[in-house]
């Protein structure tokens, strides 16, 4: 029996995802195609630096995209363990970035963010407090209308944010250059 995965809980229900997309595209038929769990390395860090007013220490939540290596700070969230067997109709995207790499990326990003917030040229101490591989719920939604080419959007089920997926064959698009973060 495989280990459960940690899913970020509190996402939008199917109906709410459809309503949000329908609201942004009046007159189009909206249909959820896939429910997806997308992998991120969640890293909780403690950023400490000495200042004129004493030692400042702040906890920072960072997530690193487990496929593209892109880091971002994040709002706090809650996790719920889910057995893989319960997710037969859901696509679970495999991570490609090792956890050790993710911690390094997160530490560097946290130092960059905090130096700008701190406004001080200090050497910070960025300690790892916790880390985990977490999955965020997303959906792909197809939109169709008579006489128009249908298209799909990716919906972030946590924030309700969405982005259109391409309608052109992927082999016409060259890969991006390697990211700096």
């Amino acid at each position: 029996m495989s280990a459960p995965i940690n899913v970020i809980s509190g996402g939008l229900e199917r109906g709410e995802v459809e309503r949000r997309i329908a609201g942004a595209s009046p007159g189009w038929k909206v249909e959820i195609e896939r429910e997806i769990y997308y992998p991120y390395h969640w890293v909780l860090l403690r950023y400490a630096a000495s200042t004129l007013l004493g030692k400042s220490a702040v906890p920072i939540w960072v997530v690193v995209d487990a496929r593209t290596r892109i880091a971002a700070t994040t709002d706090p969230f809650e996790l719920a363990p889910v057995e893989r067997e319960q997710l037969k109709t859901t696509t679970i995207v495999d991570p490609q970035v090792p956890a050790t790499d993710a911690v390094g990326i997160a530490q560097r990003y946290a130092a960059y963010v905090m130096r700008n917030r701190h406004k001080a040229l200090v050497v910070p101490q960025v300690d790892l407090l916790e880390q985990d591989l977490v999955y965020k719920p997303m959906s792909t939604v197809r939109l169709s209308r008579e006489g128009e080419q249908s298209f799909r959007v990716l919906v972030d089920a946590m924030s309700g944010a969405f982005h259109a997926l391409s309608t052109t064959p992927r082999d016409t698009i060259a890969p991006r250059p390697q990211r700096l973060m």
């Binding site: 200042t51 007013l53 963010v113 040229l121 969405f162 060259a174």
Partner: protein, 524 residues
């Protein structure tokens, strides 16, 4: 030295430091990161004023007043460019640039330029220009800080400059407190209330706008002219265009810091924060210029026009209010200087030292490179500010003109012109910067009626077009960049409303999921 003014100045700093100290202590134990990093939990008003306060500098309090005092209503061309600049930036490049930045994973404007125009030379030239010109901008803050400190404390300029500069550098080296939203909000609120208060007091003193204009006409009718005192710029649209462009297109050249934040709840403050920011600009940007114009009537024999706003505050406001307002202005100057030094040090260490000299540099080495540069800037800045201090307005206008001339066409073409390529952008940056510098140094505006900004932008625009077209075969634009630029076209019939609401920060995840699903499913 006015004891009441100094007492309230001290009180102001105690309050600001108190907020910072409280926030730091709270940050160690509570979940402070929400508003520290994302600014979401503090509401749209605090978010808007926090963002705006960081863009206020010594120029607004010394340069703008001085320009208005010496040139009259003509100076409002600069204010028009400043007010319209945000709208222009948003409408011309804002959304597209943000989209492309997110798609290419760029964190700073320099990274963005290198991703769009791939070449180490792009980064080297952009970083070198930024370090050089940001240093100029910092010099303006040093001078503004020195003059402000001298006026408030009554010390000689030499000593006041040394104290201001030492505070700024020590603060940058060691850090004081976290620049939390509430300290920035408090500071910006005091600034806007203070400047509007000075404006109101000045208007009351001269009997209102109409009476002021009548009185100004009696002194010199050309003060009221849009062509400047003595009609010095009559018909010179090239100079007027430069005045408007310097704070609209010019801002495109400043290196920005972008951080990514992943929302786990839907942020609802952004739109309202934008409205508050626009309101702030309308209220705040013209005020220092108008105060400078009114100072012509109230303080006609002013020795140093750069101190027009400080002197008016001292003459017109109660001592306690003067102390608080002056403290807020000094805090703004020091905060801007601190931010600029940090930016300059970061660009030098990250974009030049780590990239071209020591790719395996540790965090500690990078910090020491930054500190070394900050120390050198401080030493040179003190010497220049002491020996022959240039006008704050001149330095800011010079630095902004050169940055805008170097970078604005490269930024605009990056999102609007598919054929803009790396050789074109590099040549454009160099030609634009050199043209604006030469124009300023040789005072060519007087003979050509073209401001350095106008000449620089024209030269860099022509260069990027000609060189890009001439080198299309030699250096074609990479397919992944064209694909990113074509995002709108690629999604075909997507409704405009949906496109406008799309979150391009999701683009990397979307690409990954497209790649995964292409194997078993194409578009129907």
């Amino acid at each position: 030295m006015n004891t009441t003014v100094v007492s309230f100045l001290v009180l102001y700093y105690v309050v600001v430091l108190g907020i910072g100290f409280w926030a730091m202590r709270r940050g160690a134990s509570d979940d402070l990161e929400g508003y520290l990093l994302g600014g979401r939990d503090v509401g749209p008003l605090v978010t808007a004023l926090t963002l705006q306060s960081t863009s206020m500098s010594g120029y607004m309090f010394l340069g703008a007043g001085s320009l208005a005092y010496t040139t009259g209503y003509w100076s409002l061309w600069f204010a028009a460019g400043d007010i319209g600049g945000g709208v222009l930036n948003l409408s011309i490049i804002g959304r597209r640039m943000r989209k492309l930045s997110q798609m290419t994973g760029s964190l700073t404007a320099i990274e963005y330029l290198e991703h769009r125009y791939p070449s180490p030379a792009t980064r080297f030239i952009a970083a070198t220009l930024s370090v050089f010109l940001l240093s100029f901008y910092v010099l303006a803050q040093f001078i503004a800080g020195g003059k402000g400190m001298a006026l408030v404390t009554g010390l000689d300029y030499e000593w006041a400059l040394l104290i201001a500069l030492t505070i700024i550098i020590v603060y940058t080296f060691l850090g004081g407190y976290l620049a939390v939203a509430y300290t920035d909000f408090f500071q910006s609120l005091i600034m806007v209330v203070g400047v509007v208060w000075i404006l109101g007091a000045a208007l009351a003193h001269v009997g209102g706008f109409t009476a002021a204009n009548v009185a100004l006409r009696e002194i010199d009718p050309t003060i009221l002219s849009i062509w400047g005192r003595d009609l010095g710029f009559q018909g010179q649209w090239g100079v007027v265009a430069g005045a408007i462009l310097v704070f609209s297109a010019g801002y495109m050249g400043w290196p920005h810091v972008v951080t990514r934040h992943m929302a786990m709840k839907r942020p609802g403050t952004a739109r309202l924060a934008g409205a508050y920011a626009t309101l702030w600009n309308l209220l705040f940007v013209p005020a220092p210029y108008i105060v400078g114009i009114l100072a012509i009537l109230i303080l006609p024999q002013l020795d140093d026009p750069e101190l027009a706003i400080f002197e008016l505050a001292r003459v017109l406001l109660p001592a306690a209010v003067t102390g608080i307002v002056m403290a807020a202005i000094m805090a703004a100057i020091m905060s801007t200087a601190d931010s600029l030094l940090l930016q300059t040090g970061s660009i030098a260490s990250r974009d030049l030292y780590e990239r071209f000299i020591n790719p395996t540099a540790s965090e500690r080495q990078m910090v020491w490179v930054s500190r070394g540069l900050v120390f050198v800037i401080g030493a040179i800045g003190y010497w220049v500010a002491l020996a022959e201090p240039p006008a704050v307005a001149f330095i800011v206008l010079f630095a902004t003109s050169v940055l805008g001339s170097a970078f604005a066409p490269a930024f605009v073409c990056a999102v609007w012109w598919r054929r803009a390529n790396t050789p074109g952008a590099i040549a454009s940056m160099v030609v634009g910067a050199v043209t604006a510098i030469v124009w300023e140094m040789l005072a060519l505006a007087a003979t050509t009626t073209l401001a350095p900004m106008s000449a620089g932008i024209a030269a860099s625009t022509v260069t990027i077009v000609v060189v890009s077209l001439a080198t299309q075969k030699l250096a074609p634009v990479a397919p992944h960049i064209l694909a990113a630029m074509d995002e709108t076209a690629r999604v075909g019939s997507i409704p405009k409303k949906m496109l406008a609401m799309s979150d391009f920060a999701l683009r990397p995840e979307a690409e990954e999921i497209e790649a995964l699903f292409d194997g078993d499913e194409g578009s129907r």
